[in-house]
Each structure stands twice: as C-alpha cells, then as structure tokens.
Symmetry: D2
Subunit: 281 residues, 4 copies
Amino acid sequence: MKFIVLAEMEYTARGPGTIMLNIHALRTQRQTVISETFTTDPYIKVEELIAAQGENRLIRFEIAEAGTVKVTYKATIDNFCEIKDFSQVDEIPVAQMDQNVLPYLYPSRYCQSDKLYRLAWNLFGHITNPFEKVATLTNWINKNVLYLSGSTNAQTSAFDTVTEQAGVCRDFAHLGIALCRALTIPARYITGYAYQLKPGDFHACFEAYIGTEWVLFDATRLVPLNGLVKIASGRDAADTAIANIFGNVTFDSMLVSCDLAGERFEPFYYRDGQLTGLSYP
Amino acid sequence: MKFIVLAEMEYTARGPGTIMLNIHALRTQRQTVISETFTTDPYIKVEELIAAQGENRLIRFEIAEAGTVKVTYKATIDNFCEIKDFSQVDEIPVAQMDQNVLPYLYPSRYCQSDKLYRLAWNLFGHITNPFEKVATLTNWINKNVLYLSGSTNAQTSAFDTVTEQAGVCRDFAHLGIALCRALTIPARYITGYAYQLKPGDFHACFEAYIGTEWVLFDATRLVPLNGLVKIASGRDAADTAIANIFGNVTFDSMLVSCDLAGERFEPFYYRDGQLTGLSYP
Amino acid sequence: MKFIVLAEMEYTARGPGTIMLNIHALRTQRQTVISETFTTDPYIKVEELIAAQGENRLIRFEIAEAGTVKVTYKATIDNFCEIKDFSQVDEIPVAQMDQNVLPYLYPSRYCQSDKLYRLAWNLFGHITNPFEKVATLTNWINKNVLYLSGSTNAQTSAFDTVTEQAGVCRDFAHLGIALCRALTIPARYITGYAYQLKPGDFHACFEAYIGTEWVLFDATRLVPLNGLVKIASGRDAADTAIANIFGNVTFDSMLVSCDLAGERFEPFYYRDGQLTGLSYP
Amino acid sequence: MKFIVLAEMEYTARGPGTIMLNIHALRTQRQTVISETFTTDPYIKVEELIAAQGENRLIRFEIAEAGTVKVTYKATIDNFCEIKDFSQVDEIPVAQMDQNVLPYLYPSRYCQSDKLYRLAWNLFGHITNPFEKVATLTNWINKNVLYLSGSTNAQTSAFDTVTEQAGVCRDFAHLGIALCRALTIPARYITGYAYQLKPGDFHACFEAYIGTEWVLFDATRLVPLNGLVKIASGRDAADTAIANIFGNVTFDSMLVSCDLAGERFEPFYYRDGQLTGLSYP
C-alpha cells in the first residue's frame, strides 16, 4: 500500500540542547521510502544515525540557542504486508531459535516478563498453537485493559498495566510483549504511523516471533493491521522513543497524520478463531 | 595478564530442557583466549552463538532426558588493560556521541535511570570531569550500600537498591549504571571472572563511556580492577545472564575460580582524588 | 471448641533490645482464655498492652544484656464459631456502613486496593451476593496463586502477588483483603493458631464484613475454618506482626502448635455453590 | 489564633452515589470550633461520623440522583499552639512508648518505612536529639525534593518520592513520616487548612512523637507552622482523604481558604540550629 505520512513537531529551547528524533519511516526489504523530506525551521544541520541492527533511523541535531524550532517530516511510503495461515506453525523451542531473536526473550525496562511467568502460564499456557496463543493474549488485553488517555505516564510498565488495567497504545504493547516473553515467545515493540488512527498520533503495537517471522499484533484494535508504516522496532519504548531531548528544551505540540496515496484500502483485523496472521517481512 | 579460569556447574533435569550459558571468556582485541575446553558430562552436542555486536559468546545445548548434567569450562586467557589519566577528558555532549553507545543511555530492566534523574543530578550534577563524576558515584554506592549476600533476588533493580541500600555485586553494578545514564553518561553491565574474589564466583561490575572508551568501575571494591576476565557486556543482567534455563531443569551447584598463570600481579584500585582510569580496550 | 495452643520462640541478643510479641490468644465475647501461661527464660518482667480497639494483646519486654531468651506461651482456649446462611444478605452500601468498619475499606501497606479496582471489578463485579463475591475471589486466589514457602518476603504486597502468583498464607490473605476493599467490602487481616496446620506455624487469613458481621475466609484452604484461635486482627500484617524486634536481637527458632482439647472435631470448609459462612462473633 | 476557614466543593453525579468528606475542623482540647456551617446545594441530609480515636470528623451523605451538588463548609476556629525547647528531650525507647503511639511506628500504604531503614540510619542515625533528628530529615526533604504540582498522583508513595525527588505537600509529608518510622520515631499524617498557603488549598504535613507530645513538621516550608487548622490525623493519606467518593460521581472544582479573624499574626518557622518545636496539644 502507498501512504503519505506527516509529522510536525514544535519545540521551545531556553538554551542549547540536543534532540534525537525517531520519526523517519524505516527502510526495509518490503517498505520503500518513495520520497521524504525533513526540514527544520529555522534551518539546523541534522545527522542521520542508522542503527547497526537496522531497527530505526535516528535523526540528531543540536539547538544552539534559545528559540522555537519546528520540525516537519513528510514521506511517501510503499509497503507490503503478507497474510498467512499459521494453523500449522508450531512453537519453536528455544534450542532452535535464531540467535538474533534471543534478546527479545529477555525482560526489559517496561516489559518485566520475569514477573509474569505464572500469570502468563496460568492464563495461556494450555494453548499449543503459537499464533493462537498470542492472538488469545492480545484479545485478553483488549478485553481487560481500558484504553484511557492520560491514565499512565512515561514510567508505567507492563507490571503496572497487568493489574491496573488502563493505559494507552504503549501500555497495551508493553503488556503484550511481556506476556509473550513470559511464554518463551520473542516479542518486540513497534512504533509507526497508522492509517485511520483518530485522533492522528504516532502508534505503538508489537510483533511476536512465530515460526520464522515477526507477526504483527495490536491489542488496542484501534486501527487495521495493514495500515501501518513502521518507524522503529526495539525491546520496548525505551529503545524507540519518538523523541529524546537533552538540555533545556521542551516539547510544545505535534501534528501527525497517515493517509492513503490513492489506492483502495481493505481493512484487515484478526478474527476470533482464525489463525491468519499479518507480517511485514 | 594471564589467568586460568574455571567454571563447573551441575544441573538436574527432570525432563527435556534447554540451557544457554554465558560463561565463555570474551574474545576481544585485547583479550586472547589462549586455550579453552568446554565439556559436558554426559556428552551433549553444544552450539556456540556469537552475538552480532560481539558482546558475548552464548553456548546453547539441549538436554534430551531426565538426569544430571555437569558442565566444565576451563580456559587460559591473556588480556591487557590500559591505565590512563582522565583529568583532561571532558564530558561528551550527546550530540557528539558515537551512535553505538546511545543504547547504553536508555533505561533497562534493572537500571531505571528515568526514575533517578533528580537524585543523580542533586548528588553528582555539580562535578564537571566525567571520570571524577563516575568515580564519585561509585564511591557513594560503596559507602552507602551494604554488601549482604542473600539480601536481594533476581528481580531487584537499581530503583530498589538506591533506597534499600543492600545487595550483591549485581545490584551495585545496576545502581552504578542507572546513575550514569541518569547523568547522560552511557554505561553497561560487565560479567567476568575476577582474580582474588572470595569466595570464588562470577563477578559483575560496570563500564562507563568516558571520552572515547569504556572505563571500568566496581562499586563493590571487592577485587582489583586489573584482575578481570570479561565474559559479557550488555545493558544489564537481563542481557548477560550466566545461565538461562528452559524446561524442567534446576541448578544444583557451581564452582568458579580465577587464578594467575605465573606472573606477578600488582593490584590496581582507584584512589580518591586521582583521575586515573582503567579500561580493557 | 477447646484448643491447647503453644508457641515457643528463641532469640539471641547481642546487646540490649526490646521485643513486642503478638502471640496471646485474643479475648473476645466468644473466645475465652480458660488458662494461659507466658514465661521467659531467663525471667524478664513483661508488660501487656491491650489495644484500645481490642484487636490484639501485645506483650512488650526489654532485654537488658546479651544472651539468649526463650519465650513460651501456652494456653487453653474455648471458642465458638457461628455458621450461617448468607444467601439473603445483601451488600451494604457505604452510606450505611458502620463507621467502625470504614478504616477497613482504605488501602494499607500490603493491600493496595487502590491499584486493584479495575481488575477486581472485571473479575468479580458482576456477582451480586456479597458472600458469593468474596467466596469466589477466595477461590480465584486459591486456584491461581501457588503456595510456595520462601517465594516471598516481608515486603511482598498484594500488588506483587496478584501478578507473581506465588506466596504463603500472609500473601494469600493480603490479596484477598485488597480485592475485597477494591470491591467496597471492608476486610481485615487475622492471625491465629490453626488446628491441623502442618507443619505447625502461626497462620494468617482474613475476614470480610458482610451484612453486619465479620465472616472468615482463607484462600490457602490449608486448614478448616473452624479450627482457628484468633490472635489479632488489623489492617494487614503491619498491624499484626507476630514479633516486632528493636535493637540488636535476632530470631533463632520457633515451635508452634494447636491441638484439640478433647472434643470431636468436624472440619468445616466452604463449598462451591453454598452460601454458608463462618464467623467468630 | 482565630481563623476563618472555607471550603467549597462541587460534584457532578451521573447516578446515585455516596460522598464522605473529611473537611471539618477537628475539635480538640486546644482547638475550638467557635461556629461552623455545612450546607449542600441542593439540600441533602448528612451524617457526622466521629472516629472513636478522635482523629477526624467524617461527613457522609448520599446523592440520590444525577445532578450537581455544591458543598460549603465555613467555620471560625480558635486554636493554640505551644512552642517549646526540645534540646533536653531524649529519644523514648520503644520499651517505654505509650501504646497508643505504637501503630504510628508501623509502615502504611504510602509510608513504607520498612524499606527505608538503611537509608534513614545512614543519613540521620548519628543524630541523638530526636527533635534535631526530625528537623534535620525535614530539611533534607525540603532541600532534595522539588515541589512540583502535577508530578505525582494518588498512588505515589514515600518509596517513590525518596528517589524521584519531586512531589506535592502530601508526598513531602509521606516521606517525612516514613523516615521517622524507619528511625523508630512514631509519626502521623496531618491534614488542615493553612494560613498563607497560596494558592488556597488543603494542606498536608506531619507530626512526630517526641518526648510525650506530637510535634509539627512541614517539609514543604510553604506556610508558617502556627497557621494550621487541623482537619484530621492518621497513618497517612489513606486514612485522611479529603473526600472518598463511591458511585458514578466526579469532582468538578474546589475553593479553599484560611484567613485570620482579626489578630496580629507572627509567622513561626523552625530555624536551623534551634531545637524549638511547635505542637498543638
């Protein structure tokens, strides 16, 4: 699908500072950046840092003096997702897992899977098909956790959300990841632009490693799975912050959108009882 | 220095399982593995997984059936550390940091630097020299945190330790890392064999990125800094677990040692007021 | 029922200290202390502090110098419990609750009911009969939380246990209390001697205020409900610690027992589907 | 001193509900309620619940149907505080403490003194005079914790604040209480109307039990100590909530003031190096 994505952000600096942004669309085998522009007003020289593991495209720039800075990113993206039947895909024993996915089994800042073992096994341990297992836990989150803007903050973690049962997309994703890892299924955090997300904002969801691929899950059910433009993947939100700000600089406002570039769009959601998963290979 | 390191571990399996060990000495530019043997009794085929980032050497093997398994690792290592004056090394602004060290600025499972900002700045923010800053916070941990075996567990984090003020080497390292990151200094967790550690055990300490290198710090002060044989580095103990066990397998016992292979050893510790740091380049 | 209870505890003092014990059987309308002896070896003068609210009988004594102290409490108790049908007892709105029970609605150190609202309502909010509600949540704890000695410590709270799903009687009781309070049902912590508890130990369970009385629940199901000799009630374990020790004194060992004094004993447990509750009026 | 206090609060009910308010000035030996009026608009019959321990005056009322409710409390209060030299008052050993103050030694929901022992002893254990000890820890809080509206929420506890070092009056008080209890000094939470508090609001501070009386401390230093009209005391904010709301009722707005009724006011604050304390006997 072709999407036009836009992010505008404004900052006020009261002195020198550094901003690192993680808002560029990822370039992958199946996600092409047809065109993109990134501008700052006033003009500032920026540097792109491409992560060795190819998980994000960081933009870093220095603000030399007090003032406001407006950042605009606009891109046209073409990406492909694959929809596939996972009913015959068995769980991979850890003894056969690709070593590159092993770090996604470990607990991280916001996904304390080490504290969720018994709960995860009690709730989902009986399910044998791995896709069904992750789909079921995703539904469980959707059913039990209330989407409530402002109910959580930058320190809220999966350990909080599993009990407090309220949060935003970030919290839904962290809980999904923590439950997967507790079940010995590698899982990672995904940020992106999401078509049909209202109001416009960055989105977060997660991928679980099933068979030999990263399959997308979104416990919020706010948007179709096939309308995502990936920005970054990582262990959790600590790795994939939209912005990291250093110095006396504050965030003022933001405008984010994701629109179709012409084509007809057939929204795709998982359905109960169907083991059909979507991945962005 | 040349060291002979030894690790013996015994496990009891009540059924099939998988063990991943992270006990092999790291091979780096300045740490040579002169010889090493790794055996299991009974014999099991093992696989070595070398992390893409070169941070560890994972050994993975499957236990097919119930029984006991004894693992023995023995190696002769030659490594070099560098001792250097950091009194003229300034703090690197985040705008100029090597992108490979940026992930070591982010909070992680056991190092919630995001919760320690104010405390870290209140206590150490006034110190300008980065080596002195980290040396001072290391001393502060040594002075305020009681080394007390059994006082903490696998879930204890820097956020606990900063207040509860008791722990073991792992907890001392996590707190050091969290304080560094809160001060915008990249820091990573180090596991290793340590000469003169009594009783013999694996050791944990941390490195802070100062100027253009990773400098070693050990808030426990239990062993000289120049007697370390590195096993792994990572964001925290979640990345560098000595053993990850899957299936119905339990750990029984362990024997760890690190001895000099012939040379004379001059123990090196940091001293108050001296800005002389040690690194393993 | 008549019970003979015994508690022996040994302490080592390395210097002066104070011990407060909460091991005396409570005297209530329906629990009579037929006889009791409390001795210390060596002899120390002790003081009994009777709480204004009648919730416990604290014994306080000073240890003047280094040495070991052995404490022995032995008592013969006669108490009565009432078994009653709660199928027609409705929930009391907070507007009509006795003001003396209101403090048992508030969160406390180990029972953070304020963090469990959504979870409690999601799981049990649909049940209208208050006895059934508490019986159901007690069963839920019994089914989901593993009784595992040594899995928790003196700092473990209901917020931990609801996710980590392992603990001992204290943790089971704290979680029961927290869920009740989250559902606007007053609940309090009970310590006691328990007949048929193996190995012999102090026991903890909880009471919920239903209709106009405190009804007993025990999520561990380790002992019959009608074999309890109450020691204390309070908001949680912080109020009812078996021992509070001040100074350089350490606990060495303990022997606790609770035996029948002659009568025939018919063990009473709640059964699924029956709304018959037991209280010690 | 004579004060006129006023509290106006507005609520919107979307259905039936119950409100319990804790905004009435306490009646004590030295605090006289000269006159008071409490009205609701529309008129609702209210009930006053006087706590057995005399720690608060709860007002409870039911809202029968959807609508807005405005509550107005206005009172003229006359109270006396005592200023006294504590330089010769020694610490009371727990063996001699009045049993009524013992519950204020135990940890509570927001004051986890059990987790702060080592920190408290490391920082303040060397101070022998108990007034000086509490005054010093109060100053330490004032110096290290930033008063920052909106930085905390209803779940923030002393264990958070000691590290995160930001909060409001409630958090300052909780931390003071937790540190006192960790040092074996009974401490309790105080809510009140405070003269010269800007903007007008309810205030929270704490009292430590020194010698034979409750002495007032306020780590915020926002208001003079002699301008307080007490509303309630308790173990922490869980016991003394300004409002507890049950049912589908939401808080809309509040207006609080505390003015002098005629007299000349000489503000009293503690000064470094002076062991002169203020209490409301």
